[in-house]
């Protein structure tokens, strides 16, 4: 974390797929599998028992520890992105090949190797700014 002032919570990571986004955050402590775990026709999380079960990924920044499951998940991410159903940006604590590949072939900005605390500090509904050129995530406004 760079600073703790209310308006100035920021995390540094590595911009893996360049790009930027400003908008609502969707945060989970559980890894996601895009193959089987996300409905390719709606972009909703459908893995039974998952924290984000039923949540829509579209239009948000998805913040998670890392991906899991088959590398075919990369193709699912691509397919979602083409229909406007994929997250607008993805932030991970650890890099994994499935999410990296999916983001690269779909042009989704990916910020990776962000400190794990991000999962405690940022909550669903916070407004964040993700700059994957410089490798920074900034929290612009907190959910009350």
């Amino acid at each position: 974390m760079l600073g703790r002032g209310f308006r100035d919570i920021a995390f540094r990571g590595k911009g893996i797929v360049k790009g930027s986004f400003c908008g609502e955050a969707l945060v989970t402590r559980e890894p996601i599998s895009f193959l089987g775990g996300v409905d390719p026709s709606t972009g909703a999380v459908v893995e039974r028992g998952h924290e984000l079960m039923g949540k829509i990924l579209a239009r948000r920044a998805l913040i998670l520890p890392h991906g899991k499951g088959s590398t075919v998940g990369s193709y699912v991410l691509y397919s979602l992105a083409k229909r406007g159903l994929a997250p607008k940006a993805i932030v991970t604590v650890k890099t994994d090949l499935m999410i990296l590949t999916g983001c690269a072939i779909s042009g989704i900005p990916l910020l990776s190797e962000v400190p794990r605390e991000v999962l405690d500090v940022v909550v669903c509904g916070d407004v964040v700014e993700i700059d994957a050129y410089r490798g920074i995530l900034r929290v612009l406004s907190k959910q009350e």
């Binding site: 590595k14 893996i16 797929v17 193959l35 390719p40 088959s70 590398t71 075919v72 990369s74 193709y75 699912v76 691509y78 397919s79 083409k82 890099t95 090949l97 990296l100 590949t101 983001c103 690269a104 072939i105 042009g107 990916l110 990776s112």
Partner: protein
């Protein structure tokens, strides 16, 4: 990252959108897993060919690439799909599945990928030379290319191998350097006889040291097709991309950690996959058989017939199949009621296997995938046992 002129132009989109996105993927991998550098490659081999594995999303991606005019820049071959295109009935393929599979293959072909449909491209379709830098997917072929041929490749995924093919570049990581030295010595005290022993040995070593580069010492030495089975077993249970054997010319690092693989280690897995009932499906050729293996099997089949109620599948590549045909071997298989099959891999096949099926194979990789992907009972036996069970001798 240091980029050459062509690479910069690729990223600017001057070679088209597909090439740009593909290089972005290779760059992202180089920055995350590699050393922030790219390396030019001489060939590629892509996996993720079966409609069963990649589904509509994968088909859509490949179609978009092909329609966008993407072309491979190096010799590129493709992994098997789930059935023999000329004998789909053997694999419970319905019309939709068949059509979708053809679309996948056509999209890859439109990009210039050869329809080799095999996991053993190194036998004839795509033969790297010692020292070549290549970008291959398919773990058994990766390990074989690195360890037996002496080429250099990362363990690529389907999409990354294709991106490497389109850009002619791979991420420069440890597997492309001479730092890929053994990190553990595996002394094998168990006696290793046939192909199934070799695949089982690879499988057991991979389970014991999943993240290491093993130096494998086996009494009597190692060579030829046996090493293909060792590569496949090792690739199934580990993340390793290379192994070393005592016969290879290299300086053995000092103070290597040492483990022993005993008869009991192999027996434990063998017992789990012991044959307890009559097999309904017998599978040879995981990875695909070489011409020598096909000839050997043909000799055993000559003048005999496969027992009723048994489907005997011998998997090989199109190119070996063609050679077998030229040698007049196909008739022997047909007369015996055995199926010499090309293009196919059971692990990615729509073939329906029920709880009542018993699959006997001489490959630990085949056994592992058949077990995880179907409800059938799985058995591992030697090649001789497979032939004897098939022929009832």
């Amino acid at each position: 990252m240091r980029l050459g002129r062509t690479e910069k132009m690729m990223l600017e989109g001057r070679y088209g959108e597909a090439c740009k996105r593909s290089l972005e993927l290779i760059v992202a991998i180089a920055e995350s897993y590699g050393r922030g550098e790219l390396i030019k490659i001489k060939s590629a081999h892509v996996s993720g060919v079966s409609y069963k594995s990649i589904g509509d999303a994968g088909l859509e991606y490949l179609k978009d690439l092909a329609e966008g005019g993407a072309k491979v820049r190096v010799k590129t071959t493709m992994n098997p799909c789930g059935f023999d295109l000329d004998k789909p009935w053997l694999f419970d393929v319905d019309e939709t599945f068949f059509e979708k599979q053809l679309e996948i293959i056509k999209s890859l072909e439109a990009m210039g990928v050869q329809p080799s449909l095999t996991c053993t491209p190194y036998y004839s379709d795509n033969k790297p030379r010692r020292g070549d830098h290549i970008a291959w997917a398919e773990s058994s072929a990766v390990i074989y290319a690195n360890s037996v041929i002496g080429a250099y490749t990362n363990r690529e995924s389907g999409p990354s191998a294709l991106a490497a093919a389109i850009t002619g570049r791979a991420a420069l990581a440890k597997d492309h350097t001479d730092e890929r030295k053994p990190s553990v010595m595996v002394e094998v005290t168990a006696k290793i006889f046939d192909y199934s022993d070799w695949s089982l040995l690879g499988f057991v070593v991979g389970r014991l040291v999943p993240d290491e580069v093993p130096l494998i010492k086996v009494k009597g030495g190692t060579m030829g097709d046996k090493l293909k089975y060792l590569s496949a077993g090792l690739g199934t249970s580990s993340a390793t991309s290379i192994f070393w054997t005592a016969e290879q010319d290299f300086q053995e690092p000092r103070d290597l950690k040492r483990i022993v693989v005993t008869k009991e280690d192999l027996k434990e897995v063998r017992d789990r996959w012991a044959l307890t009932r009559r097999p309904t499906v017998i599978l040879i050729g995981c990875p695909h058989c070489s011409l020598r293996e096909v000839k050997e099997i043909a000799r055993s089949l000559k003048g005999r017939r496969v027992r009723r109620g048994v489907m005997f599948l011998i998997l090989t590549s199109r190119s070996v199949y063609r050679k077998a045909s030229e040698l007049g071997l196909l008739e022997i298989f047909e007369r015996a009621g055995a199926h010499l099959v090309k293009d196919a891999c059971l692990a990615v096949s729509p073939k329906k296997l029920s709880r009542n099926d018993v699959v006997l194979t001489d490959s630990a990789k085949g056994a592992y995938y058949a077990e995880t992907m179907t409800n059938a009972t799985i058995a591992l036996g030697g090649r001789r046992a497979c032939l004897e069970e098939a022929l009832g001798i």
